[in-house]
């Protein structure tokens, strides 16, 4: 298909009926219901009682993934068959763009929480400013520093001495992931993570240049390298979590430092896995299926935008979670 604006409006695209939506709905319904049940079994359930929550979850997830796979397959086939008008392609572009925007807003909620907690709540809990009057009533002896070395609960001597209820006990980590606490700069994992992820953004860009030139060899090579770098990043991230749990005492229970650290890096990591999977699929499409030409490679382009987005999020993470 060529992109001519004069043909853009010639005939309207009216799609066929599709079973995809209903199948995806069933998958989503089962997997969310299953996931909720798993969590409730864990927190509120009786450990002696067998439930089928996991089965529901896996069946749902399988159904959901299979549907998405089929759905994308159909969309790709339609494109290859030349059914997609220039207008529809533009709708896909807009769709991807606003999807990424919504993801940005999701991360913004967590970054916003981080700023609020670090800059306002911490000092207030320690007795500073207008919010600080509660300190000596509730958290006598709590002093604030970041990364937090003592949670308010520990400061008053544990959950039993606490004047208000909460769920669970919050212990502080012995060591944080901040730069200052690394033994030597070259042993500081986050720096390597940054290097790996930033270079993968560059390699994806080189792959993009390759396909624009119609150079499939270059494209396949650099896209493949990007996927490998993505895997490396995930590997390093797993290593970091292992270190945190095994040697730093840094867990999800480590007060608000642990909460923000794991949620921000965790959701980012999850998005890296998604983006990497997307890139891997594009690579397979290109290598095995011979897809993509110099002027038709939206599947790759969309995935690469997503990848750059994940990269930008990491830059902010690196700055606000690890360095500052």
């Amino acid at each position: 298909m060529t992109t001519q604006s004069s043909t853009e409006y010639e005939k309207y695209y009216v799609p066929e009926k599709s079973k995809m939506a209903i199948c995806a709905t069933i998958g989503l319904f089962l997997s969310t219901y299953g996931a909720a049940s798993i969590m409730n079994d864990m927190t509120f359930g009786d450990p002696g009682v067998e439930t089928n929550s996991w089965t529901i979850f896996w069946v749902g997830l399988f159904f959901f993934s299979a549907t998405l796979f089929a759905w994308f397959r159909i969309a790709i086939k339609e494109n290859i068959a030349g059914l997609n008008s220039a207008q529809l392609k533009k709708s896909y572009v807009l769709g991807m763009f606003w999807f990424i925007f919504s993801e940005v807003m999701f991360f913004l909620a967590f970054f916003g929480a981080l700023f609020y907690l670090r800059n306002l709540v911490g000092p207030w809990l320690a007795g500073e400013g207008e919010g600080g009057r509660m300190n000596h009533l509730l958290w006598e002896g709590f002093e604030y520093n970041w990364p937090m070395s003592l949670t308010p609960q520990e400061a008053v001597g544990g959950a039993a001495n606490q004047p208000i209820a909460n769920m669970g006990s919050f212990t502080s980590a012995e060591k944080s992931m901040a730069f200052g606490e690394a033994a030597a700069w070259y042993l500081w994992l986050p720096m390597w993570n940054t290097l790996v992820l930033l270079s993968s953004s560059v390699t994806v860009h080189i792959a993009h240049m390759g396909i624009l030139d119609g150079n499939k060899r270059k494209f396949n090579l650099w896209l493949g390298i990007s996927v490998v770098l993505g895997m490396l990043f995930v590997g390093l991230q797993i290593l970091e979590y292992y270190e945190a749990y095994a040697h730093y005492g840094l867990t999800l229970n480590s007060g608000i430092y642990g909460s923000t650290f794991f949620m921000l890096t965790g959701f980012h990591g999850f998005h890296v896995v998604m983006g990497m999977t997307m890139l891997l699929i594009q690579w397979l499409r290109s290598v095995k299926g011979g897809h993509f030409t110099a002027d038709d490679h939206f599947g790759f382009e969309a995935s690469s935008w997503y990848w750059h987005f994940v990269d930008v999020v990491w830059v902010f993470l690196f700055l606000f979670v690890y360095i500052l």
């Binding site: 010639e10 969310t32 219901y33 308010p152």
Partner: protein, 520 residues
């Protein structure tokens, strides 16, 4: 693909597998009406309990479940999907597009709603009962003290958010990409404009809500301490995140209603909309400002004074573009050749009652005054004036206005007007007295109250029952029209109506435009 011009398929598969914007719009509309009835019956239980002081019908725990589910079902199940349904039906027709931009995703956005509400409603039968922490689900009520069903609630919110995000991405892509040649942005009908801006608000804030419930989930099940001071977190953080979503959310609810009214008032005044450009800018200004006023819901949590002042003035600023809109609607009617068919009656009812709600909003926005009003029935009166007399009235107006175009049959004018007057009177009897009991100090979300509030509460309950009953009439009117209304094939049902939707056949064909219309 454009070569298959088939009519609707037969049977259930038409609805399950459809990619047609009209089918999907219809499903959204019926679904939202079903939710309206469900949420309405919760409200009836609330008002029945409040009919007299003392505890009569339900126990306090169940009462709290009712207020919670009433709010959630009405906001997420009735109002929002109803406007998405309207967008599906009308936007492609109004901009000269064949369908929505991403039709298969469109179907998916709809179909994940029923399971999400199934999960939400099923919490009523779970151990520990349904969520009872209010539709605003403040932590720690929704974390430390929540019933186990909260987990299901969280996942259903996630699914609703997914549906809204996909729906709004679709609307954005449709409006930006599918307009017929010549349909420039500044020629779009106001309804399309307001929905475009609403869709931007939705993609911006639904993910933030998803973030909020995710933090709750982590606090409940995985030991984090976002909303727990014991670990260095803060319950007030929850309120900030929630209202960062919540305030734009109230504009998500009202902007499409503004759009509907901006279509209807010119039609029945037989004059073009006064100040079209300023309407567009006012809508955009409202949307923009709605991101920086959220803490007016939190004046009493102990914010620093600088924060109170900032949010107070920012909130008051919203009254300016809102005032522009009200001014423009009134000016449209000024010296118009007005007639008062049912849609117009609802639109005028909207105008009068929404303005009252705006004024009470202005009263609430004054931080020192809000210290008195907060969490009283005055707030309940305020938001029912804007959400029921605002959003729901405009939705009724829209249904009467476009129903002839949708089904090729005319509703019965007398019945329509009867519906309007019963709704209008019932609504005011229900909610006007709440201003006074609120100012006199009656707290909201409470199943029992001091004797001094007895008379006004009884009045309020009677009004609520009348309003509730009038919705049965609404259902009757719509069904009667669809099955046995007087057939009409006039392209333009209303002689003053403008827009592409009035140039196509009546009832609107299954596929409206096969080749794009030219817009001059």
């Amino acid at each position: 693909m454009g070569d298959h011009h088939h009519g609707p398929a037969k049977g259930l598969s038409r609805w399950l597998f459809t990619t047609n914007h009209k089918d999907i719009g219809t499903m959204y509309l019926w679904f939202s009406f079903a939710m309206f009835i469900l949420g309405g019956s919760f409200a009836m239980i609330i008002r029945a309990e409040l009919f007299q002081p003392g505890m009569q019908l339900v126990d306090p725990a169940f009462f709290n479940q009712m207020t919670t589910l009433h709010g959630l079902v009405m906001v997420f199940g009735a109002i929002m999907p109803s406007f998405v349904g309207l967008a599906n039906w009308m936007i492609p027709m109004m901009i000269g597009a064949p369908d929505m931009a991403l039709p298969r995703m469109n179907n998916w956005s709809f179909w994940i709603l029923p399971p999400a509400f199934l999960i939400l409603a099923s919490t009523l039968f779970m151990e520990g009962g349904a969520p009872a922490f209010g539709w605003t689900f403040y932590a720690p009520l929704s974390t430390t003290y929540a019933p186990p069903s909260v987990t299901y609630f969280i996942f259903s919110i996630h699914v609703l958010g997914l549906s809204s995000i996909m729906g709004s991405i679709n609307i954005i892509a449709t409006v930006m990409n599918m307009r017929a040649p010549g349909m420039t942005y500044m020629k779009m009908p106001m309804f399309v404009w307001t929905w475009l801006i609403t869709a931007f608000l939705l993609v911006a804030v639904m993910p933030v809500l998803a973030g909020a419930v995710t933090m709750m989930l982590m606090d409940i099940h995985f030991g984090t301490s976002f909303f727990s001071a014991a670990g260095g977190g803060d319950p007030v953080l929850f309120q900030h995140i929630f209202w960062f979503f919540g305030h734009p959310e109230v504009y998500i609810i009202i902007l499409p209603a503004f759009g509907v009214v901006s279509q209807i008032i010119p039609a029945f005044s037989r004059k073009p909309l006064f100040g079209y450009d300023s309407m567009v800018y006012a809508t955009a200004a409202i949307a923009f400002l709605s991101f920086v006023v959220w803490a007016h819901h939190m004046y009493t949590v102990g914010m620093p004074v600088a924060g109170e002042l900032f949010f107070m003035y920012a909130t008051m600023l919203i009254a300016v573009p809102t005032g522009v809109k009200v001014f423009n609607w009134v000016s449209t009617m000024w010296r118009g050749a007005m007639t008062f068919e049912t849609p117009m009656l609802f639109a005028i009812g909207f105008l009068v009652l929404f303005t009252i709600g705006g004024f009470t909003g202005l009263m609430l926005s004054i931080a020192p005054a809000d210290f008195q009003y907060h969490d009283s029935y005055f707030v309940v009166a305020h938001f029912h004036y804007v959400m029921v007399a605002g959003a729901v009235f405009s939705m009724s107006a829209a249904v009467y206005y476009w129903l002839p175009k949708w089904c090729g049959r005319m509703y019965n004018e007398t019945m329509g007007k009867t519906h309007f007057w019963i709704s209008f009177i019932g609504f005011n009897i229900a909610f006007f007295p709440q201003h006074f009991v609120g100012l006199a100090g009656m707290p909201r979300r409470i199943p029992d109250y001091a004797l001094q509030f007895a008379d006004f509460n009884m009045l309020s309950s009677i009004g609520a029952f009348i309003y509730g009953a009038s919705q049965i009439l609404f259902l009757y009117n719509v069904v009667a029209t669809i099955v046995a209304g007087k057939p009409t094939s006039e392209e333009k049902t209303w002689d003053g109506a403008e827009g592409l939707e009035w140039t196509v056949a009546t009832p609107a064909p299954y596929h409206t435009f096969e080749t794009p219309p030219q817009v001059k």
